[in-house]
């Protein structure tokens, strides 16, 4: 038993270390696709952490939703629009303290909160209670959090419609381009 417990703990910290290192590599990469790949590794490691903490459903969702769907969308965009090279040269430069002091303060507030959470015994015991399996999640979602699911469906609907209208091919633009092309042809002939 003791050996098993020690190995679970070891696996957990191994996965955690992988997640941290992969995130660091992700931030420091020049190539966008490489950075995204490191992010995928980091998310997978976090999924392993979830699993070992006793949340198998959350682990599955982490892989399917984040690594399998959202990052695929990112890679897709990078690949399609040719964003793989570092484009920070074209980005607005952030010089001066005023640009980064706000995010910094917010990040420190978050840090303090997290330190409190990790330090407090109460929260720790709640965190390490037991396994939360998929059945419990489903019962809660379709029981007491009924409204949240419906709201989520409206959010998804809004996301779908807005996503389409942001990304749709600009058909008017194309017609204009083609018609100008026509006019030029007529003039020359």
């Amino acid at each position: 038993m003791n050996i098993e417990f020690a190995s679970v703990e070891m696996l957990f910290y191994l996965a955690g270390a992988v997640a941290i290192i992969a995130s660091l590599k992700m931030v420091t990469q020049k190539n966008t696709v490489h950075a995204l790949l490191y992010l995928v590794v980091s998310l997978l490691a976090v999924a392993v952490c979830f699993y070992l903490m006793g949340a198998p459903f959350a682990a599955g969702l982490e892989v399917i939703v984040y690594a399998g769907a959202i990052l695929v969308l990112f890679v897709f965009a990078v690949m399609m629009f040719g964003l793989s090279v570092d484009e920070t040269l074209h980005a607005p430069q952030s010089r001066g303290i005023s640009n980064w002091i706000g995010p910094m303060l917010l990040a420190f507030a978050l840090l303090l909160e997290l330190i409190y959470a990790i330090d407090s015994i109460d929260i720790q015991q709640k965190l390490t209670a037991n396994i939360v399996d998929a059945k419990q999640v489903g019962t809660l979602l379709y029981g007491s959090y009924l409204l949240a699911v419906e709201i989520a469906s409206f959010l998804l609907l809004a996301g779908l419609v807005a996503g389409y209208h942001y990304a749709k091919p600009n058909s008017d633009m194309h017609s204009i381009l083609h018609s100008q092309h026509n006019k030029n042809n007529q003039r020359s002939s």
Binding site: M1, E4, F5, S7, V8, E9, L11, Y13, I20, S23, L24, V27, V33, Y51, G54, P56, F57, I64, V65, G68, A69, I70, V72, A77, M79, M80, F81, G82, L83, S84, M104, A107, F108, L114, I118, D119, Q124, T128, K135, V137, G138, T139, Y142, G143, L146, A152, S153, L156, G159, L160, V161, G163, Y164, A167, K168, P169, D172, S175, I176, S179
Partner: protein, 180 residues
């Protein structure tokens, strides 16, 4: 740059805190052992499987690297484009960019994948939530079917005029312009 450094430092602090928490935790954690050992018996064979797999594939690739010949010829190091390399692909910073029809499908995929996840939570707890859950899930599915109907009716699921013959495009464009 500053933001990156501050992020890094915060990350490091967090890491330290985690380690500290780990040291502190050690005493109070024994109750979890039985629960966790169950998780372990399920996941360690998968981890072992993964490691064996990666080692084997790496070995195979290394073997082929060693065994294979190394040759040189004039046109070998050019992309397979029948000798006419017309455009540089985006990966090396070329200007080629593609239409975004495919990207739309990726967006739809993300939305409907999330829907799938919600429905998975429903079906796994189906017997527990009963009729109330069924009605709720029906509304959920209904709303997304409406969304599907909408994107179908506005023609978002079709690859549009770019795949028509060029003459057809010209005619459409002229009509569009005269309508203005």
């Amino acid at each position: 740059m500053f933001i990156t450094i501050s992020e890094l430092s915060i990350g490091f602090c967090l890491f330290l805190c985690t380690v500290k928490g780990m040291v502190k935790e050690r005493g109070s954690i024994r109750g979890r052992v039985v629960v966790l050992s169950n998780q372990l018996t399920e996941i360690w064979p998968i981890a072992a499987y993964f490691i064996i797999l990666v080692v084997m594939l790496a070995f195979m690739l290394a073997l082929s690297h060693v065994l294979g010949p190394k040759t040189k010829s004039r046109a070998k190091n050019t992309p397979y484009e029948s000798g006419v390399i017309a455009a540089v692909a985006p990966a090396s910073g070329g200007e080629t960019r593609f239409g975004n029809h495919f990207f739309l499908y990726a967006i739809f995929f993300v939305i409907f994948d999330l829907e799938t996840i919600f429905l998975f939570a429903w079906v796994i707890a189906f017997d527990e939530v009963g009729w109330a859950g069924f009605i709720e899930a029906s509304i959920f599915i209904g709303i997304l079917l409406v969304a599907l109907l909408y994107i179908w009716r506005i023609g978002a699921l079709e690859l549009k005029h770019r795949h028509l013959p060029f003459r057809q495009q010209q005619i459409d464009a002229q009509q569009n312009l005269s309508n203005r």
